[in-house]
């Protein structure tokens, strides 16, 4: 038993070399993350890249295969049972709703070639394209939409998104089980004409119809396969792609649907969606050339990406906000507006956005993010004050609320476990301590525990929260603080605010409606039930050879708009 021992002694050496080699790469990025170079402009710089090119002028790759990172495993591909953004991305490729979108996010005809809206804004008549086909060749009928929507609302389905359809007449009663799904005010006048009656004018109704929960499903296959109709061999869909393969936790493959009415304008033949939850792994696979598209890069790689892949990283504004809520149903924040205002004013949002969070997020001084359709966001007046003036004012309010350096306020900040939330909480606690002498304890909780505590409003004082809009309208944010809304975890109640929202729901004139919503936002901001902190950005990395990619605020990226260039 003689073994050449010389080689064995090399093994530890080899491993050590590997370690050192690996470490130097990682260190590079962490060292760089200490330097900041005005990250706020990142979004505007990259928006224009690769948008002006047309497929005709460029050389397309022979193989039109798109490898798309897609966050996490979709819970379901059934439009009524899925929840979360990753499944919507796939559903937008395989299904098509009445309304489509341009790459920029403008609403255009989808399965409906045109529509009419009654003068009072409550009756919508959609005309479905004659050449709209299901992937098995069946024509897409008005009754297919009616079938799908009834199923979406039926309590037996248990959809998370049934409330998307609340603006439609009778929808809420159906959700509550008080009326039958057949009473939904959506009827097929003939094979291709669909009439929908709304409760009130809902200017964002067309936008809602781009949401995956409103997509049609093929009635015959639902009847045949039941709950399993969304499996690869069973799924009949009407979008630009059809589902070919689904290996749970590995990938979902969709292929071009030759029966899609606009198939001639689809370039990419095959899309692989990879559920890669580990963001660093996704970025590594991107760097190794296995992915063309990173769903979300790890925030600690922002500086590295900015220096090494500047044209490929994209951080456009996204329709979401990150905020802290006060539990206003209990002391110390109940009836203590001065204290809440003082705490809000003390935060240096620029530092939080640019040094703590990075990735181009935008400091928030209002509730509704910028870039919402037909809206200009409200912001605190004190935003124009200098930092010193703000602090002086905050100190005064803090003292008026009965606290001082000698009698400091003690508070608990609760957040769900995450590196980013922890950094933000630490920064905020430090800012409060430094400016006012507040003793803030930070407390992290596992997601579901956190959600339950937040909802019950018993132990929470200050809590982290965030919201990403389902549709591009100010109301999608405004409704969150309505006294009856399920996510109003602050427990904020202001009848005036509720009344303005109610008024806006029946106001047919868009300008007047906007004024009402802005008025409501102003009132709410001045009541300080929440602290706006920053507006989200997407965190994408996209290969330069992916053509047709345009940033849009809803982050709706249809694969049919894209093409792969020779590379």
């Amino acid at each position: 038993m003689r073994i050449d021992l010389k080689h064995i002694t090399l093994i530890p050496l080899f491993i050590l070399i590997g370690l050192l080699y690996g470490c130097s790469g990682e260190n590079e990025s962490s060292q760089k993350s200490g330097i900041d170079t005005g990250s706020g402009q990142a979004n505007t710089q990259q928006n224009t890249a690769s948008t002006s090119t047309e497929p005709g002028k460029l050389v397309l790759a022979k193989q039109q295969i798109f490898h798309r990172g897609n966050g996490s495993e979709p819970q379901s591909l059934d439009p009524h049972k899925s929840e979360g953004v990753p499944s919507s991305h796939i559903q937008r490729d395989i299904f098509e709703g009445l309304i489509g979108e341009t790459p920029e996010g403008k609403l255009i005809p989808g399965a409906a070639e045109r529509w009419e809206i009654s003068e009072d804004g409550t009756v919508y008549t959609f005309y479905i394209r004659e050449n709209a086909r299901w992937s098995n060749g069946d024509p897409v009928l008005a009754s297919d939409f009616v079938f799908a929507w009834r199923r979406l609302l039926a309590p037996e389905t248990g959809s998370y998104y049934s409330q998307t359809f609340a603006p439609v007449l009778n929808a809420e009663a159906i959700i509550q089980g008080k009326m039958k799904p057949e009473t939904l005010a959506a009827e097929a006048l003939d094979e291709r004409t669909l009439k929908v009656t709304l409760k009130g004018p809902t200017p964002y109704f067309l936008g809602l119809l781009t949401h995956s929960s409103t997509f049609p499903i093929h009635p015959a296959s639902v009847e045949k396969y039941g709950d399993k109709f969304s499996r690869p061999d069973n799924l009949v869909s009407n979008g630009a792609y059809t589902l070919s393969e689904w290996v749970v936790q590995s990938h979902i493959r969709v292929d071009r649907n030759p029966r899609y009415w606009d198939n001639a304008n689809t370039t990419i033949d095959t899309v692989f969606f990879y559920p890669i939850e580990d963001q660093s792994s996704a970025l590594k696979r991107y760097r190794a050339g296995e992915l063309d598209f990173v769903y979300e890069f790890p925030i600690n790689q922002y500086k590295w990406l900015k220096e090494n892949l500047p044209g490929e990283m994209r951080t456009p504004l996204y329709l979401g906000n990150y905020y802290y809520g006060f539990n206003v149903t209990k002391p110390p924040f109940k009836d203590n507006k001065k204290l809440r205002q003082a705490l809000s004013m003390t935060l240096d949002r620029e530092i939080i956005a640019e040094k703590v969070v990075t990735a181009g997020v935008v400091p928030a001084y209002g509730w509704v993010p910028r870039g919402v359709y037909n809206y200009e966001n409200e912001e605190y007046d004190w935003m124009s004050l200098s930092k010193e003036e703000r602090l002086a004012m905050a100190k005064k309010l803090y003292e008026e609320a009965g606290y001082s350096k000698d009698n400091p306020f003690t508070v608990e900040i609760r957040y769900n476990t995450s590196e980013n939330h922890k950094k933000v909480a630490l920064a905020i606690a430090a800012m409060w301590k430094q400016a006012l002498g507040v003793n803030a304890k930070i407390l992290n909780e596992e997601w579901k525990v956190f959600l339950e505590n937040r909802k019950q409003k018993q132990v929470t004082e200050v809590f982290r929260a965030g919201w990403i809009a389902d549709y591009n309208d100010a109301f999608s944010f405004a409704e969150l603080l309505h006294s009856q809304h399920g996510i109003n975890d602050s427990g904020y109640v202001n009848p005036e605010y509720d009344a303005l929202l109610a008024q806006s729901a029946v106001e047919p004139d868009p300008e007047k409606r906007k004024t009402l919503l802005k008025q409501a936002e102003r009132i709410m901001l001045e009541d300080y039930p929440i602290i706006p902190i920053y507006y989200y950005t997407s965190k994408r990395v996209v290969k330069p050879y992916v053509g047709g990619y345009v940033d849009n605020i809803m982050d709706h990226q249809y694969s049919k708009h894209l093409y792969i260039l020779e590379h």
Partner: protein, 306 residues
């Protein structure tokens, strides 16, 4: 021996029942439920979902129903992955984990035992020290550090191997995860082998064998190695069960569709049926492998007879 195996088989049932019971009630004790999300469901829909999954029944009844279901081999539908049942998820994930884990354990066993034996034979030499230092490093570097390092070096910088994905289990895709999985095991097995080998080499029967004038390789392979492997074998039982049920870290980092991540994700999502399914599955494997180890003992050690 057959009688022993049968006795152990009977004894396994109460253990399994205990595992199921404890796991069932512990999962339910955790705050929050499978359908709690940031979005609040309308109460009517929540009620319907609860009814559909029998969450509205008293816990004891649910427990009874669950036992009845698993007695028929049905682990129920997954709460999180609504298009799949737990049986399907385990059925799809286990072959992946088994292949990765099985290869990793086999690799670890071959390399670990060889290195350990060499180190023991050259005790206190340079070879011994370097093997043991490497082993120590291998044990102390956690997987979540080692795996990204391997990826960075071999996939990103050198571009020799893919940076992740399963691709139906192609060889190229499995090399790095198998190495990452086996490294800590190699280290552990090498240390175990060395320790027991040194002890065995000092024992009387080895001195006798040498005194008889047997050639050294016969002494080592025929007489020393077998008893020296006993601690390794007892370690191997639970280790194999653990490795072939998947590692959440390795699966997340390499993007592999194995079983391991269902433990963690299932628990975080309060996917009651999925957590229970994998816990029971893991429990059964542990029981089986421990039984195999006990039987192997009888083969390896003449003093052990059942």
């Amino acid at each position: 021996m057959l009688a022993f195996a049968f006795k152990r088989f009977l004894g396994a049932w109460p253990t399994l029942l205990l595992i199921i019971t404890v796991a069932f009630f512990m999962v339910r004790l955790a705050p929050g439920g499978p359908f709690d999300t940031e979005k609040t469901l309308p109460p009517e829909i929540q009620a319907n979902l609860d009814k559909k999954y029998h969450l509205d029944e008293p816990l004891v009844m649910q427990y009874g129903r669950y036992l009845w279901d698993i007695a028929r081999g049905d682990f129920g539908p997954s709460f999180q992955y609504k298009d799949y049942s737990v049986n399907e998820l385990i059925g799809a994930g286990f072959p992946v984990s088994l292949r990765l884990g099985g290869s990793a354990i086999l690799l670890a066993l071959i390399i670990g035992v060889t290195l350990g034996a060499i180190a023991a034979l050259r005790q206190n030499s340079r070879v011994d020290y370097s093997v043991m230092t490497t082993a120590m490093v291998g044990i102390s570097i956690p997987n979540f550090v080692m795996a990204p390092l391997l990826l960075l070096v071999f996939a990103v910088y050198l571009g020799w191997l893919p940076a992740g994905g399963w691709e139906g289990g192609s060889f190229r895709n499995t090399v790095l995860p198998i190495i990452a999985l086996s490294l800590p095991q190699v280290a552990y097995i090498a240390r175990l082998t060395r320790g027991s080998m040194i002890e065995v080499l000092r024992s009387n029967f080895i001195r006798t064998a040498r005194a008889k004038g047997l050639p050294e390789h016969t002494v080592i392979i025929r007489h020393a190695l077998k008893p020296a492997l006993l601690p390794v074998v007892s370690y191997l039982g639970p280790a194999t069960a653990a490795v072939i049920t998947g590692s959440v870290v390795i699966e997340q980092i390499f993007g592999l569709p194995g079983l391991g991540r269902y433990f963690v994700q299932g628990a975080l999502n309060r996917d009651y049926t999925l957590v229970m399914g994998v816990v029971i599955f893991y429990g059964v494997l542990i029981i089986v492998f421990n039984l195999i180890v006990d039987l192997l003992y009888a083969v390896l050690d003449p003093r052990v007879r059942y």
